[in-house]
């Protein structure tokens, strides 16, 4: 079982008051937890990689908890989430896919059983690569006001033998959301979609 070796952690918090329209009484807050780890499979093809998902679980939980904490500490205010990974050049996209389970389930667990699938994206890239992490409502994927994304990246990561793991949480809709669709107030909350 390869050990999870962390080189660097970066936390980004954004607080958005307006975007040219009325100033919101409750600013939208978005936070990203980024962790740079060593890719234990870099530089060669390894067939059996699945067990590394279990190794990543404690890190996923730590990142999810840190997001709730930087957004104020109360899991109830979290309304949107997303996840992503950037694999360094000596790795393959499949290594980024290892993050789906530990990253996604960690957020659902910390948020008390969020129902919607966690939107995600991944890529292979060099240091400084930017990733637009998609965001959707935590209980109903079709809530249109909560379709969003947060751009993340770190100037010196991922190096060739590293993976940059990302989790993102938000406290609400886009700041001037007004294009209709399913509203957060209309969620049935049964299937994770509506």
């Amino acid at each position: 079982m390869p050990e999870v070796q962390v080189r660097k952690k970066v936390t980004v918090v954004e607080e958005i008051f307006h975007e040219g329209g009325p100033v919101s009484a409750r600013p939208l807050r978005r936070a990203a937890a980024l962790v740079v780890i060593r890719n234990p499979f870099a530089g060669r093809y390894v067939e059996q990689i699945e067990s590394f998902m279990d190794d990543l679980k404690p890190l996923g939980l730590e990142m999810a908890r840190s997001l709730v904490s930087v957004l104020g500490g109360d899991p109830k205010i979290i309304e949107g989430y997303g996840k992503g990974a950037i694999v360094g050049s000596a790795g393959e996209l499949e290594h980024g896919a290892l993050w789906h389970v530990p990253g996604g389930y960690a957020m659902r667990e910390v948020l008390g059983g969020a129902k919607a699938i966690v939107a995600s994206t991944k890529k292979v890239g060099g240091p400084g690569t930017r990733l637009d992490v998609p965001i959707t409502h935590i209980n109903a994927s079709y809530v249109r006001s909560h379709f969003d994304a947060m751009e993340v990246g770190i100037a010196d990561a991922p190096r060739a033998d590293e993976i940059l793991l990302a989790l993102v949480m938000t406290t609400g809709a886009r700041i001037h959301a007004r294009v209709g669709g399913l509203k957060a107030s209309e969620i049935k909350g049964e299937d994770g979609l509506r």
Binding site: K8, T11, V12, V13
Partner: protein, 194 residues
């Protein structure tokens, strides 16, 4: 507050290993960034005093936020730096009006001391422009282990009529500093240089 803030962002970085050597305790640095309206965008204005007052406000707000992100008392901060990026309808002098006349005093109030010049950089640029905030020890500019820089970037700022203002604070120097020079235990702290 005089500043019309659209957005605030904080960035917290923690380096735990470098070249496979553990960094313990980890080196940590934080940057707080404000995206504000440029009251002088699109025209030449001789008297820039409104931006100087805004600089004073942001010196306090952003330093408080950076220190809070590090979770340390202000006086425990070791190095600092400041930077601004002016959107395309502004001029470099607008960045200077924010950064130089009045921003420093509240920074030093929050950090307890700060005998050294606050290193700074400025530029004009479009959305997503990268700001490299220079860093130097807050009480003695010659402390070589603390010569550093922190990159920050916000993908949707500055818009043409905005200014992005950043303050970075650390609780440490570079991760594996070993190029000699004045060390922090040799600081006299009188003249801001040594």
């Amino acid at each position: 507050m005089k500043a019309r803030i659209r957005k605030l962002a904080t960035f917290l970085e923690e380096t735990r290993s470098e070249m496979d050597r553990a960094i313990d305790p980890p080196t940590r640095r934080a940057a707080a960034v404000a995206v504000i309206a440029n009251p002088y965008a699109g025209r030449y204005v001789e008297d820039l005093s409104e931006l100087m007052v805004i600089g004073e406000e942001l010196g306090d707000l952003l330093t408080q936020r950076a220190v809070a992100a590090l979770g340390i008392p202000g006086p425990s901060a070791e190095s600092y730096g400041k930077a601004a990026a002016v959107g395309e309808d502004g001029e470099l002098e607008h960045a200077a009006a924010i950064l130089h006349p009045k921003l420093g005093a509240p920074v030093r109030r929050v950090l307890g001391k700060g005998a050294a010049l606050i290193p700074s950089s400025k530029k004009r640029g479009g959305m997503g422009v990268v700001l490299d905030i220079p860093l130097g020890h807050k009480d003695a500019a010659f402390v070589r282990s603390h010569f550093d820089g922190m990159e920050v970037r916000i993908n949707d700022a500055p818009r043409a009529n905005e200014i992005m203002v950043a303050i970075a604070v650390t609780d440490s120097g570079r991760p594996l500093a070993r190029v000699g020079g004045l060390t922090k235990d040799q600081i006299e702290g009188e003249d801001g240089l040594r």
